[in-house]
């Protein structure tokens, strides 16, 4: 006699469209998944909904005009984007940057890294189902944003850096406020662990999912935390120092598990390291000095091409500029870490449960503006 389960109940695979409007895709990103029950058989990311053609636009803009556009690529870490463009042009032209400007750049970039990781932390937990942390993260990020607002006059799209320096010097008292904030965050950060990291539900939820090996990571050109969670000790700030990062002492947090939990911890540890850098940078901040180097009125880099890469919060952010000696780039290409890191997603999602999907997608830390450029 056949058991009830062998009577051939027909099941079929279902194609589920996740996005482009979905709470946990962090923007207009779409994922077409084929599911069998709640198990994902295949996942196909579809993107381009936020494609604004920055690279095309940039070809018709002068280098200075591109800077506000870079703000909008990865809108959670505009400072880093500002920097990578300026750094590329400065490398191409062989410009030197005043010391004070370098300090300001490092300070704002590290603050932005913290702000970006805080947003990630909050939204990731929102994905996981905890609504509280989001607000706490935004409370602390708000302080950074206010500091940036005072410094650059904008809360999100800073347009702060210029080729050859930065636009504004720190206003009076700003450094002190920044120091205060750094001390505050240092004391607040353990609470993050109390609130979330220690929670058993949270731990069991993301331990051992979304796992991949170092070889996978390298093959898929992953960078940043996505690479470091597999045991590769690599941080461009440390290994190919740009700006004045070689003057500061900091560690590169590395994990070997390669799962979501390790990425979670790495990002929080990165905040700690950024705090370390900030402490040193703020202490050594030169009171005197200029913030803008001597640059030609019209930025006209020599004929040639340049590719620079820096460590953005999401990974390796690169800029390629092909110059024909004009004031506008011939070709402007951004190597966007979110875009590249996302490539491993279909592989990670294969065969996992639906409810792990958001945990895995969230742990990649994408910004759709950056994915789509």
């Amino acid at each position: 006699m056949p058991t009830p389960f062998s009577t051939g109940i027909r099941t079929e695979e279902m194609v589920l469209n996740i996005g482009p409007q979905h709470p946990s895709t962090h923007g207009v990103f779409r994922l077409v998944v084929k599911i069998d029950g709640e198990t994902i058989k295949e996942a196909v990311p579809v993107m381009g909904y936020l494609h604004r053609g920055t690279e095309k636009l940039a070809e018709n803009l002068t280098y200075t005009q591109i800077i506000p556009y870079t703000d909008r690529i990865d809108y959670l870490s505009s400072m880093t984007n500002n920097y990578v463009l300026c750094h590329a042009v400065e490398t191409l032209m062989g410009l030197s940057i005043p010391e004070k400007a370098e300090f300001l750049r490092v300070i704002v970039m590290e603050m932005n890294r913290i702000a970006s990781h805080l947003v990630w932390w909050g939204t990731y937990l929102l994905d996981i189902g905890a609504i509280g942390p989001f607000l706490y993260a935004f409370r602390d990020r708000e302080t950074i944003i206010n500091l940036f607002n005072e410094l650059s006059g904008a809360r999100l799209t800073y347009n702060y850096m210029r080729i050859g320096g930065v636009k504004w010097d720190a206003p009076p008292g700003w450094i002190e406020k920044a120091k205060e904030f750094v001390q505050y965050l240092k004391s607040e950060l353990p609470n993050y662990h109390v609130l979330v990291s220690g929670n058993e539900i949270f731990q069991s939820r993301i331990t051992g999912i979304g796992t991949y090996s170092r070889q996978d990571a390298l093959d898929h050109s992953l960078s940043g935390v996505m690479l470091r969670c597999t045991g590769e000790n690599w941080d461009i700030r440390k290994n190919e120092p740009y700006s004045i990062y070689d003057r500061f002492e900091f560690d590169v947090p590395v994990a070997t598990e390669g799962d979501c939990l390790s990425r979670y911890h790495l990002r929080l540890q990165e905040i700690e390291q950024s705090i370390r850098i900030l402490e040193q940078a703020l202490d050594q901040f030169p009171e005197e000095g200029e913030v803008m180097g001597k640059v030609p009125k019209v930025i006209r880099p020599p004929v040639g091409e340049v590719y620079v890469r820096i460590e953005a919060p999401r990974g390796e952010l690169g800029v390629y500029i092909a110059s024909q000696g004009k004031d506008k780039p011939w070709r402007f290409k951004l190597r966007r870490p979110s875009f590249v890191n996302l490539q491993i997603l279909p592989k990670l999602l294969e065969g996992v449960n639906m409810s792990n999907m958001v945990a895995i997608l969230g742990s990649i830390d994408i910004v759709v503006g950056e994915v789509d450029a």
Binding site: E38, I131, N199, I201, R205
Partner: protein, 335 residues
């Protein structure tokens, strides 16, 4: 109140009874309105923001305006939805949640029906809610709601087992299924003390039964957008909301009755406080716990959720039954 039930049915009698039911409904609606308000307030405070504060003084009218909005909204139905079931589902979800309140003894006088099998009645009726949920999920003809409905069914059925099991200990101790008897049996010590294990299991299973954090998977907005009621709007959606909160009301009442001594004071010397106040205080504490958990907890994962029910809660509940049985037999001198 229950004496009415024994009278011969007359027009006045039926009218009275209906009026009482309407009164309870209003109380429940009032509770739901302000439970939602306080939920938003408490979570707001915990998240360092003031919560609703714009409609009415202190935002007290916020939920009322929300409900008004829901009622005035256009009643939409997806084109390919199953019309009959789509309409039926909210009712199916709501009515049992309200019906279970009939047996709830709020105090020794305020109770609608003093059933001998009160606990069974509650458990039996509350299981119907899952039908509403799964019907809604299926009838919407939406993949998200289908997944949400299936998850919900799996979850509610799974957790019902430990939920019932955890009550068995109390029934053994009391020797009755009548809720009033259970409360009276707690004169000396509340059941939470001897039945602590059962209380924990019940609390967790109740959380899952209610689809509330950290077990709010069926409506996990970050995965399933809104789960089984994703296609519902306007009044039908309000019904689901209502069902959820009324069910919470029912579960709160049950947990107070079963484990926290119902309307009994914490110590006989505090007798001067009216029983209904005692009841409300205990009840509030449970409701606050809901909000508190929601402000703190991340969500479980579907597979872990099921594993937790069958591999952890059920054995613990069974162990609790065995333990209680042994203790009782020992006390009665059979061993």
């Amino acid at each position: 109140m229950s004496s009415w039930l024994e009278q011969a049915p007359s027009l006045t009698n039926v009218l009275h009874y209906s009026l009482a039911a309407v009164a309870l409904l209003l109380v429940v609606l009032g509770f739901v309105t302000y439970a939602i308000y306080f939920e938003r307030k408490v979570i707001g405070w915990m998240q360092l923001r003031p919560g609703p504060n714009r409609v009415g003084p202190l935002g007290l009218l916020q939920t009322i305006s929300d409900v008004t909005k829901l009622l005035l909204k256009e009643d939409t139905r997806p084109k390919h939805a199953d019309k009959a079931l789509f309409t039926l589902a909210p009712i199916l979800a709501y009515s049992p949640a309200f019906a279970v309140l009939a047996v709830m003894p709020f105090t020794d006088t305020i109770q609608f029906a003093d059933l001998g099998v009160g606990v069974l009645y509650y458990i039996a009726l509350s299981s119907i809610t899952v039908m509403g949920v799964i019907t809604a999920g299926w009838a919407s003809n939406n993949k998200y709601s289908l997944i949400g409905g299936m998850r919900s069914a799996a979850q509610m059925i799974s957790y019902e087992v430990p939920l019932v099991m955890s009550v068995v200990g109390i029934i053994l101790m009391t020797g009755s299924l009548n809720l009033k008897d259970i409360v009276y049996a707690q004169q000396d010590v509340w059941n939470i003390v001897p039945q602590f294990l059962g209380f924990i299991v019940f609390l967790i299973a109740a959380q899952a039964e209610l689809n509330r954090s950290p077990f709010d998977l069926p409506e996990a907005e970050s995965e399933l957008v809104a789960g089984y009621h994703v296609e519902y709007s306007g009044f039908r959606f309000a019904m689901f909301m209502l069902a959820e909160y009324v069910y919470m009301f029912g579960m709160g009442t049950l947990i107070v009755v079963l484990f926290l001594g119902g309307w009994l004071p914490i110590h006989p010397s505090l007798d001067f406080i009216p029983p209904i106040i005692w009841f409300i205080i205990k009840f509030m504490f449970y409701v606050f716990l809901q909000f508190w958990l929601r402000a703190t907890m991340p969500r479980f994962r579907a597979d872990q959720l099921m594993g937790f029910a069958w591999k952890v809660l059920l054995p613990v509940a069974l162990f609790n039954i065995m333990l209680t049985a042994f203790v009782i037999t020992y006390q009665n001198g059979f061993m």
